[in-house]
């Protein structure tokens, strides 16, 4: 994750006054040279604008309109309602507001648990696979499989596995092992939350594994040797060498995993179809339902914008706190 910034240093060295180097037959470093980075960045900036920034701004604008099926064809006819959509969707006394809050909590718990378990599995596997042994490459490849599978295929397979009457999960639990008498539902009711969590962790942990495995490659072996000479056991080495050395990786990994999980749409959408059970009503599905199923794009956008603000605050707070801690340590 380390980045180097050699180019500016080189520039800084150059304009030394009275330096004979000026006469030297160096290639001129005029405007053409300084334009190059911008030229190289331009495609990314244009795409970023087109894919993220402009839709985001449009989303904010939509949230200020009463954008229903009457106006969807020509937005200019949609009445400007100011913050009315926000008032209606965030009013916790209304049914819509209560459901949004419920959905928010479900998503928060889901994200924290999913990221937590994914990280735990990832770090365990990465540490176990850190030292070479026979079959390590095969295990690594195997662990990465969920990440390599297309999300739709994988989650549709899960939805088959979790069916009550014909699913493999109940077949194993009830028919083969006899652990349960009744066939439980996994896709509706209280269990649906746990089903969603399991599928999400299954999908996300290989990413954590991959990042942490890469991070571990940068930990010098001498540190472990020194720690071992000092008599540090496995846990002590993990706590005092591995985890501190992985800190920069974890900083980014946890944030990105959290944002991805919080915004995850594909997993619940494919697992439950368009309308998730209320126990697993993630915010992305909730917003989708408000926008596309009830044709109220203004409210849907208002929810999205409110959520965006929330995630910005969380991200900023997270980075400030982790940053301060790093400075304290320094």
């Amino acid at each position: 994750m380390a980045t180097s910034t050699t180019a500016p240093d080189a520039d800084r060295r150059e304009p030394r006054a009275g330096s004979p180097a000026r006469e030297a037959p160096r290639r001129p470093r005029g405007p053409r040279r300084s334009l190059l980075p911008y030229l190289l960045l331009a495609p990314a900036i244009v795409l970023e604008l087109a894919i993220h920034v402009i839709p985001m701004v449009v989303g904010v604008w939509m949230s200020l309109l009463e954008l229903t099926q009457f106006h969807i064809r020509d937005w200019s006819t949609a009445p400007f309602v100011g913050l009315e959509n926000y008032r209606a969707t965030l009013d916790l006394n209304s049914a819509a507001g209560k459901e949004l809050l419920h959905s928010f909590w479900v998503t928060l718990v889901y994200s924290v648990l999913s990221v937590g378990f994914a990280w735990l599995l990832g770090i365990s596997a990465a540490v176990v696979l850190q030292r070479p042994f026979r079959g390590r490459a095969i295990l690594r490849a195997l662990f990465l499989t969920p990440y390599a599978l297309p999300v739709y295929t994988a989650v549709i397979t899960w939805s088959f596995l979790l069916q009550r009457d014909t699913g493999l999960v109940n077949h194993v639990l009830v028919d083969q092992l006899g652990l349960l008498n009744d066939r439980p539902f996994w896709l509706i009711g209280d269990n649906s939350f746990w089903s969603l969590l399991v599928v999400s962790v299954w999908r996300n942990w290989p990413f954590a594994f991959l990042c942490l495995m890469a991070g571990l490659q940068n930990v010098p072996g001498e540190l472990y040797e020194a720690a071992a000479i000092d008599g540090a056991g496995f846990w002590r080495r993990l706590r005092s060498v591995t985890l501190p050395m992985l800190r920069p990786v974890n900083l980014v990994l946890l944030l990105v995993l959290f944002l991805w999980t919080f915004n995850d749409f594909n997993t619940p959408y494919v697992l439950f179809g368009g309308s998730a059970p209320e126990q697993a009503d993630l915010i992305s599905i909730h917003i989708y339902r408000s926008s596309f199923k009830t044709w109220d794009f203004g409210s849907g956008s208002a929810m999205s914008v409110a959520l965006l603000l929330f995630l910005l605050v969380v991200s900023a707070a997270y980075l400030l706190i982790t940053n301060r801690r790093r400075d304290d340590h320094a």
């Binding site: 980045t3 993220h52 099926q69 049914a95 009457d165 539902f185 044709w295």
Partner: protein, 432 residues
Amino acid sequence: MSRRHLGIFTAAVLAAASLTACGGSGDDSAASPKTLTYWASNQGASLEADKTILQPELDKFEKQTGIKVTVEVVPWSDLLNRLLAAAASGKGPDVVNIGNTWSASLQATGALVEFDDATLQAVGGKDRIVPAALAAAGAPGKPPAAVPLYSMAYSLYYNKKSFADAGITAPPTTWEQLAEYGKKLSTGGKWGLAIEGANPSENAHHAFTFSQQYGGEWFDSAGKPTFDTPQNVSAIKRYIDFMAADKITNPSNAEYAQNQSVSDFANGKAAMLLWQSAGSNLKTQNMPADAYGVAPVPFLASPPAGGKKVNSMVAGINMAVFKHTKNRDGALSFVKFMTSDEEQTILNKTYGSLPAVKTAGADPAFSAVEQKTIQDTLVTTAAPLPQVPDESTFETLVGTAMKELFADAASGKPVTEASVKAKLTDAQQKMR
């Protein structure tokens, strides 16, 4: 915040922002006067089967007019979203199939060509069309936003052998009988009635019929929702109770949203099914036509005051033309072709539905028991779903509320008048 953190933060902002950025895309409407793009709904056993059925007809149209039609069969789960995206963007197909209950909702977008008398004349004339089907093609008092293509109605399908084994000689005519027979039929791992409990549209269709029988309405005359009236509460409770109280429906049906109930009926796992034109679907699942009987959907034994004698919605598929088409004449001539006597006979015969034009009913295929039952229902006891702009929202909200009630029933939670009313009140509050 260091520069590196600023970088991470920017990336995080963009990751978070992906929530607000949503949108739809569509193919461009055909630009050449010699081509058309057509989105067909899924009427047959699969999307591929539909393509195979439609392609020879489209080739015929090309031969007649020189216009090449590119067809895409869109699954029901995506169709409304795709139509909405096309309406919003002004890009997409020229001609589309729409569920007839969405007619008024889609009409409100203003994206569909209105079939005033002159336009109707251009596609064959208003008088040819079955009036009940035309009534379900747009808001009352406005020119229709679409033309009826396939007509359907709900019927009760029952397994003859299961009935005979249980000593039942005739299909039920009342819900009370249906519950009683269902109990006799629910033995040995088999169930009385199969229900598509997790499919909001299917649920909403039954919500309409039961509500009519209990004297309820989902919208008042001004188009405002009236979801949680006592009549509607009784209606929904009656339907959910097949699983919750009568226990004649397998709790697993609370998960069903992909026509598994039709499969259960075809495989003999359930003895009764309420469905629209199930015949062609049952055939592809290897259930011979003589293995099942078709009867009208039952009524209440003693209907309450105000209860109506309605046992189905006027179901069907309409054909609409987008205003953004660059080939309006071609599109209209395609609609005319698809609603011609010949095509109506060929296609409706294949799909087991009924022609939407009066002049095409002569083929003997339309006097089979199933088609006869549908025909009688359409003529005598079917009513169109409310043709109001919020209809599709009603289907989603009430249908989803019922899905949740089925989930409660399946997991053993009590379904009471109060819990039904609470769900309906919630659904109503979400209407704006």
